[in-house]
Amino acid sequence: MNPTIDYHAILPELILSGTLVVVLVVDVFLRPPRKWLAMPLSFAGVLAAFVATLTLIGADRTTFGGSYHVDPFAVLFKVFFLSVAMIVLFLSLRYFREGRYYQGEYYFLLLSSVLGCVMMPSSRDLLMLFISLELVSAPAFLIAAFRKNDPRSNEAGLKFFLIGVLSSAVMLYGMSLIYGVTGSTNLYEIGKALAGHLGGQETLALAAILFVVTGFAFKVSAFPFQFWAPDTYEGAPVPVTAFLASASKAAGFTGLLQLMFVAFIHQAAFWGPVFAAFSIFTMSIGNLVALQQRQAVRLLAYSSIAQAGYMLLPFALAGHGVDKEAFAAAVTYILIYAIMNLGAFAVVVAVSRKSSALLIADFAGLMRNAPLLALAMTIFMVSLAGVPPTAGFWGKFFVFRAGIDAGGIGIALAVVMVVNSVISLFYYLAIPRQMILVEGPEEPMRSPALVTFVAALAAAAVIAVFVYPDLIAHFPPLSTLVGS
């Protein structure tokens, strides 16, 4: 048997793989002052992969024996992940060049993780999903610990590693049980098998689903598996945290979306309430603990936990007749969240050059010292809280509407979400308050051009999506994965 491979379908992945090998080889031949050239090289590779992905728009291809699909859903997320990769590369350049870290290795590992992200939305097979997820996580463990001389960075890497390995083990166990029950690793086949008669193995199938969900809950830092996130985010280099909180988390969610809405959809009555509990506790705990934070990255870490709660909400609505709407709401929320979160981290990267402790108090007077950054940060914070005129409003609105349309438990969840949004306003606005109202030391802040560019771009995108939500919402591909 000689399986034919659709090389066009996997062209972005091939380009990325080639680039990361080239980056590693070129790096070892560069003299230390020129090591930063690894970044433009990586950027060229990601850009090439981006263009290759654009040629796949509208495609519907299958390769590797049905385990790898390139459909509109996959292409949408590939474009998204590659954009995030470019932004993180922008944020990384000055940070890693000035810190004298291992730059070549950093870009190599970052690209490996991006490769995993790009593979994730195409993986329609348990094994492929697992490989993608490990490819996202394994390099991320290393780059989280990249500030070797800082014990907090070591702690970040170690915690992330231990939790990551534990969750992988739990997930793999669940996957093996699912294979045992259904006799297949293909998500569509599993969906068909689980819809049929299981011959006394119904309970085992439910237990297996629970194991897999638990594994993913660790990855997306949902309560009660969220405790690693703040320490890891705080200790890791700030550009890495930006990557973890946006791309890595979104990758977890894409995997979860495919599993839940393709393979396990028939058992929605069982796992829907589980996700409802996840969602309520994740957003509430994240928001309540965020109220206590004095450090900017920890604040954003707890905020990202709370945001994961909003993203988990649409899962709880599966099986209430609004699957398509819930799916689209989850996808929209993930995309919008990533934009505003990346923007916020861009500003934090800029501020980290002045004060490495990154207390919220350090933002004082930013409005005078760096008006553009302060304005952008205000927009991101307002958007994360979900207040118009920002993209975050639409993200919350679509989730809210899906909840109301679902009725029953959906309405309760929507109400909890609104209450949480009001609570979150309190801590999100703490940073703008500090920047605008509190007097700080008067010293003009010089931020790297690329970082300012990213912040401005993200701020513009956040406003643009509010004015014209069709940019992201109502994409036809959003719900192609969901049947009927």
């Binding site: 000689n2 090998v21 590693l24 080889v25 070892v28 031949f29």
Partner: protein
């Protein structure tokens, strides 16, 4: 929910587990008791050292260990795994045609990049 008969067999299968458990506890208990009664009791300071035979340990347990063997071990494992993949491939690559040759070339090429990296980082030099 269980019927009378099936409940009985159900608890009987637990009885086997209990019996094995009891037998295990008994076995260990008897062995220890017998040793207490029969064995001669002659305490010596030498018996309290870490190893009763061999060389006395030198220094602390937290001393630094030689890391270069570790790196060599690493490189060895990489190429060991390569061999594991190469042997079955060598058995059948004629049947698979040129595609198999190219694929194995890519695989070995990636490992070669790893070796190149190790060489440039000075791992291969015995320091």
């Amino acid at each position: 929910m269980l019927s009378q008969a099936s409940a009985e067999t159900y608890y009987q299968s637990y009885a086997v587990v209990l019996a094995v458990l009891a037998a295990g506890v008994l076995l260990v208990g008897v062995a220890f008791l017998a040793a207490r009664l029969i064995a001669p009791h002659r305490p010596l300071p030498a018996k309290l050292t870490t190893y009763e035979c061999g060389i006395d340990p030198v220094g602390q347990g937290w001393s630094q260990s030689q890391v270069r063997y570790y790196i060599y071990g690493f490189l060895f494992v990489i190429f060991d795994v390569e061999a594991v993949f190469l042997f079955p491939w060598a058995r059948i690559f004629e049947r698979l045609g040129y595609q198999a040759v190219v694929e194995m070339g890519i695989f070995i090429g990636i490992l070669a990049v790893g070796l190149l990296y190790a060489w440039r980082k000075g791992v291969l030099k015995w320091v």
